[in-house]
Every structure is written in C-alpha cells, then in structure tokens.
Symmetry: C2
Subunit: 492 residues, 2 copies
C-alpha cells in the first residue's frame, strides 16, 4: 500500500510537510501561521516535556507562570531586546467587541481602547525581570532558578509546521545570580542539559557552541546553542542558552545586597527549547516510509497486530497477547493492541510504519501453533520470528535499547560524513552546493565577512564550537588571521 | 511570631488575599488583571494537573493543542456563544510595532493592521469545531475524545487572585459523538471525574447538579456543575461539564456518515476546570495560621527541621535524618529537609505552617538521645513525640492518610451544617443573611423568579441537584408548583 509520501531524494521539503500531516502530527489551522498539534504529535511533545521537566527539576529549577501579555513600554526597556522583538508581534489594542448598531455584526468597540497596547509575549524576559525586582533584595534570595512552560507568538510571514510558526509552545528558563561566574556556569549547565536531552532521548547528535554577535539573542552578552544536522544537509538550531550579563537587571533595576553589604546588579540567564524540536526529531531520522521515532520518545513503543480469519482464532490470540501485554507493561514498555475489525493487518502495518512505532509485533494462527511472534523493527525494517518464552520481555526491552543506540549511531555517522574542513572560499562554496552539511572554515571574526558570506551563499555561522581545537589560520574570505575554525551551514 | 495574617472572622476576603500572597502562591502582575503564579502555587497546580491528566487519560482522552487566536467571525457562528463570549475579550488588531519617525518611541505600525481581528481565546469551542469538521467524516472517526491544557483570557474588570483573573490556566475537554446518548454519558462521566478529583484529592465535598437556563454555558443545551462551599458560607463553582447538543456541529457544519449510511450532525460536549480550583482549595481548608493543604496535593508532604546548637550536633542530626528521608522517599512521600543556617527553627515552623506543609518533623539533641522525633500535623496543629523505629515510615504514611480523611470530614461536616431547607422567602432571606451556605428551596422554574431573587438577595441558583429527592412543593416566591428543591447560595 502506498502512503503517498514523496521521496526525500526528490523533494525533501514536500516529504517533510506531507509526513507531518499524514502521520497525524500537526496541521495548519484556520488562523494564519498557527498550527494545530494533533493528539499523536502532542503525545510525542508530552514525552519531551516530561523528560526535560525532570532534568530541569533535578538541576534545582522550579516552574512558575507569568502573564501572556507584555505592556508595550516594557519591551523598550532593554535597548537591544526591543530591536530584536518589537518588530513582528501580535498587538492587543482593545478589550471588547460589540454589536454594530448599523447591522454590521460583531465589531471592535472603539470605546474599549487600551491606554497602553499589550504585546502577546514573544519571550518573557521583560515581564519576568520586572517581577524579579520585587522578589530579589538580598544574596539570600539568589540564585533564583525558574522555568516556565508556555505559548509564545512571533508574527512570521513564512511559516512551516513545527519549524517556524506564529504561535509555538516552549519552555523558557529565567535565572538570577549573585555573580557573573555563577550565571555563566548556569548558562553552560543548561546547554549541557539540552545536549544530553537531544542525544539521549532524541537520538540526535549535536554540536555545542557559541553564537557570533550577529546571531546572538537580543539582549544577551553570549548565546550558547546546540546545532543539529538534518538529512538534507541543512543545520537546525535545537536549543539556546543565553548569558544575559546584567542587561535585564539594569533595564528593570534589579539589585541585591551582597554578603558584604554592597548593592549590586543581579546577573541573569535565559534558555529555551520549543516545539521546533519536533521538526528536528522528524527530519533527523524519518525515511520514505514515514516517521522513525527513537524508542525513548515514542508514545507507544510496541504495537501488536493480531492476524486471524475467525472469531475463534481472534479469541485464542487475545488470550496469548493479554499476558504478553501485561508483562511488557510491567517492564515499563508502552504497548498498543490494535484488534480493530475495521482495518486489515496490511493497512495497520503501513499505518504504524508511517507513525514510527518502534516495534511491531504480529501474531497469527501459525505463531500460536509454534509459540512465536513476528517482530519488525521500524529503524531497519528487519523482521524476525521470536519465541514467546520467558525471555520475551527482556528481548523486546533489549531490542528497544539497541534501536535507540542504532538510530543515534546512524545520525552520528551521517553527520560525521557531513563535516568538511575547507581551506578556501571557492572550496567552501562548492562543498555547500554539492554536499551541504557543516563546513569548518577560518573566519576573521568580523560581522562584515559573516554577512558577505551569508549574502553570497546563504550560509550562516552556526557557532564557534566549544570543543573546537585552537588552530591558527587565515580567513577564507579576507585572508586575515583566525584563531579557530567556525562552523558554517545553510540552516532551517 | 506573627505572620501578619488577618483573621478569617474579621475580614475573610482580606484574609484570603493576604494568605495567597504571604504563602507565595500568586501575586498581581504589572499587567492589569493578570496574575503571576509563583513557584509554590504552581507546584500545587502541577499536582492537580498530574492527577486530572491521569484521570482524563484513563477515561480514554488524548491531549492536543489548538491556536491561541480565534478569528472574530468564528465567535459569531454560534448565536448564543457569541452573546456570552464576545463582550469582554482581548482583541489583536495589529501584527507589528515600529520606531516612531517623530521620536515617539515604539508605536503600533498603522500599516500592519489585520484584515480580520483575532480574539485571544476565551474558550476554544469555535476553533476546535472548525477543525473537527476536517477530522470527522464517518462513524469510525467517533467518538473523538480530546483535551487541551491552555491559557485563556476573559477581560474582567474586577479581578481576584485565582478566583477571577483576566488570564487563567485551565484544561478544556472537547468531545464529539455519534449519538445524543453517548454525548450525555460523556458529559456526566466527566462531571463525575471532577467530583471524584475534588473529593479525593482536594478533600472538598461537592454537590453535583445541573444549571438553570440562566446560568448555562453560552452554546450548551445543558450545563452540569460541581458546587463547593467555602468557609465564609459562599458557594464556589468548581467545575463544569456541558452537553452541547448539535449546536457547534451545526454552526461549523460537522456531519458524519452513520453506520446506516445517513449523514448526521455530530453531538458534542465540553468540560473544564481552571486555576480557580486553587482558590477553592485555599478557601475551603486554610485557617488563621495559613494554608492547610490536603496531603494528596501537597508539593512537600513532610518538612524536617533540625534543631542544634553546634556543628557537631548538626552533623549527628544530619546522619539520622538522612536515613529517615531516604525511607520516606522510598515510600513515595515527598520530603523537604530545611537545614539552612540563615533562619531559626521558630521562623521555619511559622513559615511551614503558613505554607501548609502537612507534617512537620523536628529533631533535636534530646530526640537523638531518646531515639525520637517531634511530629506536628498541620490540620489540627497537634504535636506528638514518636519513636524513630522500624514503623516510623508506616506511621507517617498512616498519619498523612488520616489527615487527608480528616480535612475532608471537617469540610463535609461544616457543609452539612450549612445546608438549610426553607419554606418561605422570608426564611430564605434571613438564612442567607444570618447563616449563609446552601439554601434548599422550592422554585417555580422561571427565569423571572430566579432573577428577582438574585436582584433582591444576591443569591443565585447554584444548581438543580442531581441526587435531589423529588418533592412536590410551592415556589417560595410565587407560590406556583415545584417538583424539586433547588440550591440557592451567594457565590464567588
Ligand atoms: Zn551554534
Ligand atoms: Zn451547580
């Protein structure tokens, strides 16, 4: 059965869009630029949330909730921040509708105009730091380690499901510290949490680095990031962690009394990941048959499809599977049993392949005779017949672990083959066009050169890698001296 | 040490406001009508969310996410709905800010006016049913059982933390069914889930009932509700479940092909509870010393405060508590160990009393000698000395269960004494003024009488109780016939 998915090799972009829709992950809503996250897509996001939330709490953070709306004047308080975020945002100007007296239906009530417009939060630094002013007086109130799960809105003209939408879901951490050292440590700590999450749960190898000034968060002193590589050779920024210096503390006058009695500005960080991770997860691993989910993030790790011709056979199979399911669940493995009569087994096989369920177990009359089941793994599409014995649950458990590792290894090996060192701008351009991926090149450290490269090749500096070797060289564009290679790529 | 809380008996309303702030639950934000939910308040909300989410999933529902914005025209599609929700809402009219050329700072860009205004969702029926139209074709697509956790905005002029805020957090279930019977069953099922949650986790006895037409959700055929009683004798609606009939299906043209091949409109329900439950939880159980939390919703069920005069003593206590904490946690009991040197034990005792931690354990040098600890329970404020032996964890576990039951019983007994049957309008008014609570009275079933009572006494019909006995009588106001008593109260 054809799932009607385009092939990645023919039209990667169309393949992605169709996959997101056909696998029931998300769809465009009637509201321009806003998406509907469908139950299956949301279930994967919930798995991500659970793991991240646990990791945030283990590193000492608490959740809280701040207002959706930001007074217009707040945005302007941090000079760089307003430049970055004031442009494309949703503006609330009125607080009431009314019936048009002239029969024009429901209209905005001109008498209900707000004195000061409210911005739907594009990010919450301003409203949070205005609150922190009242929460922080003394060094005893620090560090303040807070995270928020929320929706945010950035008005985008060109949107793509999960990757760039006007409204998206995310978490935003906002912390306050007594010293610069602690704040930098926190910034790096959360970068490492993101990297660990990406690698362990998303099976996604990432490069940790620092953004150039051009690509920095508006209001940050330093933006750290993790960068991942998609199958089409384009990069995707999967998470950012910002060292804010004292910028927001100064903008909102947040000072604390130090142990020594001095009044000092607080040091800040912020860090976030969003439903964009869903796009990264989908694009990194999936194939022409549909979604490939790392078991650690799959809502159902196992699906069982019974194959029968009579009610009697069905009942016998039900008996056997009942015990199997109970054992798998006891071992912490989520299982779906699909015994619907409305769909044929072949249809179900294709459906679960499309939806990326890691392990599919089929059981028919022959299996009943032989005491076996057929196990198909989604990553390699390999099938094998396995005895339904004492070791069965352990076998499946091991298989899921192997798959998690295998999906990671595949992505790692792919990326390894897509990191290219180049020595000249000519070579740089030809690698970008013919191969793509991460290109390691020397750069003179100026915004001018960075922008020239971007204009001419559409490649941006993804980051200055944290674990990059020091290597003296010459900028591939200007020939000026460089201390370290940086990572260029075309990116989502 | 005084916590500076007003007494309930002197000013209940002020007591509530101060308690919410002093116990670090929430505070007003700089954005009019919007609150900041502080980490401790949010941790309690998270406990509520976890339990409710589990109950929703156990009854077959999946989570999804729909857009924050609703096109203005959508609101108008269901005639009753627009009357109820169009009035006080946040309206997005523009999508860009810009620098004023005349030096006026950041202003709304008049060129970025939306063709159609967007409403920040006050509730999501319209945008969800417009989506369901594409999801539902056949009886095989039904039932569709979806829930959303989200923020919503209703522009309120007079707000109170948790009880009535412009923005609040909630869950909204939206289900679609093939038959009226199934939809009504779902409506009642979710009402029962809410009642079970309120009674089992919030320790809050509730009355299940149906709203009168006046109080019905805008767009529903029937609104079911659970009503709780606060300590000041006022009622609080703690959750609602709406049978929507085919109203939204008709408004958004959502039809399905039945098993028999006919094309029919879908039947709908919606149901929700919000951060208002936090207000109910606080007001139902707390006392003049602060918050009283049922153990089942307490972020920390136990707090341990060491009492020492020297580092040596502290170390000895640390050793003993370490094992105690590990055993308690293994038994699933959340524990906080507060060994901060910055605060005295007396200060800590008052602080945890204020914050409603169910069990406080103090351990000092004498306890070390005797192998005991001092255990104080928050609900009754009783203290006892308990041996730190093999049974200790089981004792604490049992104590927490007893406290949960005791807090429920106290609220139940209080309510039992506050349900009054009256036979005349005079009696009705005097009970309302002198006692408050739920007043059971005969009513003629007309909106006119209901409104007259409301105008004259500020009491509304909370509900027609589901388990009310049939009892023929005469309306206390008009003397017209009545088949059943209904429940009146002044309410939040
Ligand atoms: Zn980077
Ligand atoms: Zn009611």
């Amino acid at each position: 059965m054809s799932k009607g998915l385009p092939k990645r090799s023919e039209d990667y972009s169309l393949w992605y869009n169709e996959l997101v829709k056909k696998a029931d992950l998300a769809e465009n809503s009637p509201v321009r630029g806003c998406m509907v996250i469908k139950p299956y897509g949301y279930a994967i996001w919930e798995k991500m949330q659970q793991e991240l939330d646990r990791m945030f709490k283990e590193t000492g953070h608490s959740n809280a909730y701040f207002p959706l709306f930001i007074p217009k004047s707040y945005l302007s308080k941090e000079a760089a921040h307003v430049e970055g975020f004031a442009k494309e945002c949703a503006v609330v100007t009125h607080y009431r509708l009314k019936n048009d007296e002239n029969g024009g239906g429901i209209i905005v009530d001109p008498e209900a105009k707000l004195e000061e417009e409210l911005i739907v939060r594009p990010t919450s630094e301003t409203v949070i730091w205005s609150t922190y002013k009242n929460w922080i007086q003394s060094y005893r109130d620090l560090p303040l380690l807070i995270n928020q799960w929320a929706n945010v809105v950035r008005w985008e003209m060109r949107t793509r499901l999960f990757l760039r939408t006007a409204e998206f879901l995310w978490q935003e951490g906002h912390t306050a510290h007594a010293t610069k050292t602690e704040a930098v440590e926190e910034t790096v700590r959360m970068l490492n949490v993101y990297a660990e999450f990406a690698e362990t749960f998303m099976a996604l190898p990432v490069i940790k680095g620092v953004k150039t000034e051009n690509e920095r968060f508006a209001g940050a002193e330093d933006t750290y990031c993790i960068e991942a590589l998609m199958q089409d050779g384009k990069a995707l920024q999967a998470g950012t962690s910002h060292f804010l210096g004292q910028n927001f503390a100064k903008a909102f006058d947040v000072k604390f009394q130090s142990k020594e009695g001095a009044l000092e500005y607080v040091w800040g960080t912020s860090w976030g990941v969003s439903t964009r991770l869903m796009g990264a997860l989908i694009m990194a691993h999936s194939d022409d048959n549909g979604l490939v989910l790392p078991p650690n993030l799959a809502p159902n790790k196992v699906v069982i499809v019974p194959i029968y011709r009579s009610e009697e056979e069905k009942e016998k199979i039900n008996e056997v599977t009942k015990e199997m399911i109970s054992k798998l669940r006891k071992a912490g493995i989520s299982v779906k049993y699909d015994d619907r009569d409305t769909h044929k087994p072949g249809w179900k096989f294709a459906e679960y392949e499309l939806k990326g369920v890691p392990v599919r177990i089929a059981i028919g009359p022959k299996d009943l005779e032989n005491g076996t089941v057929e196990v198909a793994r989604r990553d390699t599409l390999e099938k094998s017949v396995i005895p339904l014995n004492e070791e069965f649950t352990a076998t499946i458990s091991q298989l899921l672990e192997d798959m998690q590792a295998n999906i990671y290894k595949k992505a790692y090996d792919f990326r390894a083959g897509m990191i290219t060192k180049v020595e000249s701008y000519e070579e740089f351009k030809s690698v970008l066009d013919e191969k793509g991926g991460f290109v390691l090149a020397h750069w003179d450290g100026t915004s001018e050169t960075e922008e020239k490269v971007k204009d001419e090749t559409k490649a941006t500096i993804r980051c200055i890698p944290l674990d990059g070797e020091e290597e003296v060289g010459k900028c591939m564009v200007t020939g000026k001296p460089s201390k370290q290679r940086v990572i260029f790529a075309r990116a989502y």
